[in-house]
Symmetry: C2
């Protein structure tokens, strides 16, 4: 990982090869979207890091732009790898399964125009679909 551009004597925060950090990123590669709790549970019991570390790593990864924070309406924050491909999600209301979906649309363009008339500038949007996954159906 090379999120930092500067080159001081020592690597700045967020740039070392730390076991927890690598494991979290790897975990997010496997499971697209995870909460802090899920990220923690991803570690084997005997080498599970402290929750403080998990939270701190999340902040660090967010700061370095490696992950994004999402929120699916029930209040729990979830995290996914930063990915420049714009996408949305299918979210299971029962088990919390999350799946990215890609679709073409001009939603933002349409709304931006009318919003602008009210003096509102649209900078981004979120579009999430809720329902029940294959297992929970």
């Amino acid at each position: 990982m090379t999120p930092c551009a500067k080159k001081p004597t020592h690597k700045p925060p967020g740039c070392r090869t730390s076991a927890v950090r690598s494991a979290m990123l790897k975990s997010l590669t496997t499971n697209h979207c995870q909460t802090a709790e899920q990220l923690m549970a991803g570690f084997p019991k005997n080498k599970r890091p402290h929750k403080t570390t998990i939270y701190r790593e999340i902040v660090c990864l967010l700061d370095n732009g490696l992950i994004h924070e999402l929120n699916f309406g029930d209040g729990r924050k979830t995290y996914e790898l930063a990915d420049n491909r714009h996408h949305h999600h299918l979210i299971c209301l029962k088990c919390g399964w999350v799946h990215p979906i890609f679709m073409q649309h001009d939603l933002e363009k349409d709304v931006s125009k009318s919003a602008k008339k009210q003096g509102f500038t649209v900078t981004k949007h979120s579009l999430e679909f809720f329902g029940y996954c294959q297992k929970c159906n």
Copy 2:
């Protein structure tokens, strides 16, 4: 308000004319979307109810289907009057201003079809637009 169908000796929870309840509903009529904190702040200081009461009323109003819970990605839960007209929101990232918008689209229909192929049943969706309002622009 008549959310209850039964007719016991006494009115069941959520059906009495309580000062706090009425005031909260009235407040939501004026300000479309509010958090628990905002609902509390809506009361004049000298007759502000206890936070416990606010939270309990929110649960009660949700149970009786009088309000809906929303979540705008920053973790804070907001509430709006239940309204059967499907709509979305413009949300100011700076001051938290929220404004409902109505638009025609077939988003759900399109996605439902492809999701169904993966065994996922879409039951609802959320679509929110973020940016900066007139004041914060």
